[in-house]
Symmetry: C2
Subunit: 410 residues, 2 copies
Amino acid sequence: MSTFYDDPVHIVRGEGVWLWDADGRKYLDCYNNVPHVGHCNPRVVEAICSQASTLNTHTRYLHEGILDYVERLTATFEEPLKTAILTCTGSEANDIALRMAEAMTGKRGIIATDATYHGNTTLVSHLSKSNVPEVGFGLGQYLSHVEAPDSYRIADPDGQRFAAKVQEAIDDLEQRGIGFAALIVCPLFLNEGFPTQAEGWLKPAAEAVRRAGGLLICDEVQSGFGRSGSRFWAHQKQGVVPDIVTMGKPMGNGHPVAGLVTSTEIMTRFRKSFRYFNTFGGNPVSTAAAMAVLEELQEKNLQAHAARMGKLARERLSQLAGKYEIIGDVRQSGMVFGAEFVLDRETKEPAVAFTDRVVNRMRERGIILSKLGRHKNTLKIRPPMPFAEEHLDLLMTTLDAVIAETLEAA
Amino acid sequence: MSTFYDDPVHIVRGEGVWLWDADGRKYLDCYNNVPHVGHCNPRVVEAICSQASTLNTHTRYLHEGILDYVERLTATFEEPLKTAILTCTGSEANDIALRMAEAMTGKRGIIATDATYHGNTTLVSHLSKSNVPEVGFGLGQYLSHVEAPDSYRIADPDGQRFAAKVQEAIDDLEQRGIGFAALIVCPLFLNEGFPTQAEGWLKPAAEAVRRAGGLLICDEVQSGFGRSGSRFWAHQKQGVVPDIVTMGKPMGNGHPVAGLVTSTEIMTRFRKSFRYFNTFGGNPVSTAAAMAVLEELQEKNLQAHAARMGKLARERLSQLAGKYEIIGDVRQSGMVFGAEFVLDRETKEPAVAFTDRVVNRMRERGIILSKLGRHKNTLKIRPPMPFAEEHLDLLMTTLDAVIAETLEAA
């Protein structure tokens, strides 16, 4: 396995936004979105323990847990997104979503951006251009990669340019005889570097998709469950109603539960094409964990909290940008924020090595974060949702010092 | 979702080999292999609770849990099966195994039996002939289905006939220009109806596979972890060393953990072809659950127990076969046993409707089991491993009464 950092971290304990290593050293976790409501959240742990000691079985028997959960989950979605399949991983959910698109359109062409990641099954792994496998049962022929949005370098204020790129890819797939089945995107374009976008930015692309008879799949594995701040699901901020929304990582706070939400029409078509069953998917313990996460999010108003903290984070990052030339751009979307480091504000040449040094130095000072984006020069700060003002203050004070120190050492 | 039984069971609690429904009715569980060491096994529940309240994160950080587990797991395997990937589901493990076969051979032709099931990803779902999807990105072209073994109807005492069928499929794949990559089988042929086979029965097929330069993948999702009684892994009973062994269902007693074990050579080739990462795979809670299952199996000698109970079960089923003409064949392999119902012992015509009535009547009398096999007329009895003599006695006494009653009603 490849691990994070030049000198990997050996974590032994977690609580809230904190992690401890084997030497007892404490780290502020500004990276992990899986422990969405905090590491070892007591409500989630209690739900898992209680259900694991009562019953854990599959969905061939009746159980209220999955019904109650799906009802509460789909209540957060707009019409017609009112039915769900639960799986164990986001990869499994995306794998189903692509088959749904094929079942609905009778075509196989899938469009994704050229700087994304949607999971690890044979089919889904082809969506990552950075990871196009040498082998993979010839599925690469069905994938088409479009230029990822990049608000800092590519002017596209209303999403028309992106929509045009999608249209080109659709036309190309049709001309090659493959046909167009679906566009799959993370509505925050998180792996792409979460570009700054106005509300409704994705509408033109969604319109192009629908005109061509294809499906819009929003992969909200990273962006969902209140992370985007202003909405519970990031596609709502983008002004679109996808045909399928997939979800995963934060859903069970680390317990392996994932799934997708779609319309009855699409679900019925899929069910007629496949006798899909997932042994562990939707089991009582997984749904108990997922229910506890939903309850925690709603009762503690963590979505509103994410919006507020994100705004503060943007202000602090902007202050640092005023102080350091090397910060070319500040971006934030709810509780996801970061800065893009550039060697020159005119040429916008990515400061890749610098970014890497900052990430490693932050870790040395006890703060865990990462980098991402089209040029791997954007800080990826995506802490658990209970991340509070005092944590933000520690993060920003340390980042200030680390940037200064790294510039000095260069 | 489709559920079991004409009138689905509403289960609310489980303990050991027992389940309770919402009305407080108790059922003897003779079906579920996922709660391998018993429903809500205290050691597994304690391991999950303890780890879930301490730390749950991914494998990008160092953690002893996964190292200790993989060491203990691979110790149960022969050379060169000494390295592992952990996933969340058996489907994910099989999906990787097929890619490993393509990576090693440069070919894509996969052979499976015509009455099997290996999982639900786009690629893996094509292995089930009974479920060949209408859609599926054209992957059906790479699949070749051979006649499933059937010790009751097709004489093949030493596996030569099966090997010849596999050879025919290999030749056909090569002639069609697809090429042969792997044979994937459950070493007990559990879905096929667990035919009676002498030790080493799979050797000739394995030899055909190796001569053709392909890989042998043993899917031990159902057959592994001591279930087969005489060996910890069922392939060991079959006298073969597979290139890849996949595992799942019983591994975490219901917690979503699965994986595969293979050689360093195959792992290295795969790792070079794919940047595989599984967010939840091998997380500290999953590995704690899996470790508790291994400890429970080993400390309580459940494999030897399965061998002993299986032998007793076979004796009891044989006594029933002496009493009822409708039992055409009795089969057993460790803690998997069943009887094949036929309308006529000469023609061996499957008593499909009768089998279905028996399964439903057993449920009415509080015993949960199922049916399977090439003709869906074989009782599938596959209880949790702590299933003891008193439970066997209750099962067999009830089965005796239900067969009599069902014959009478006919």
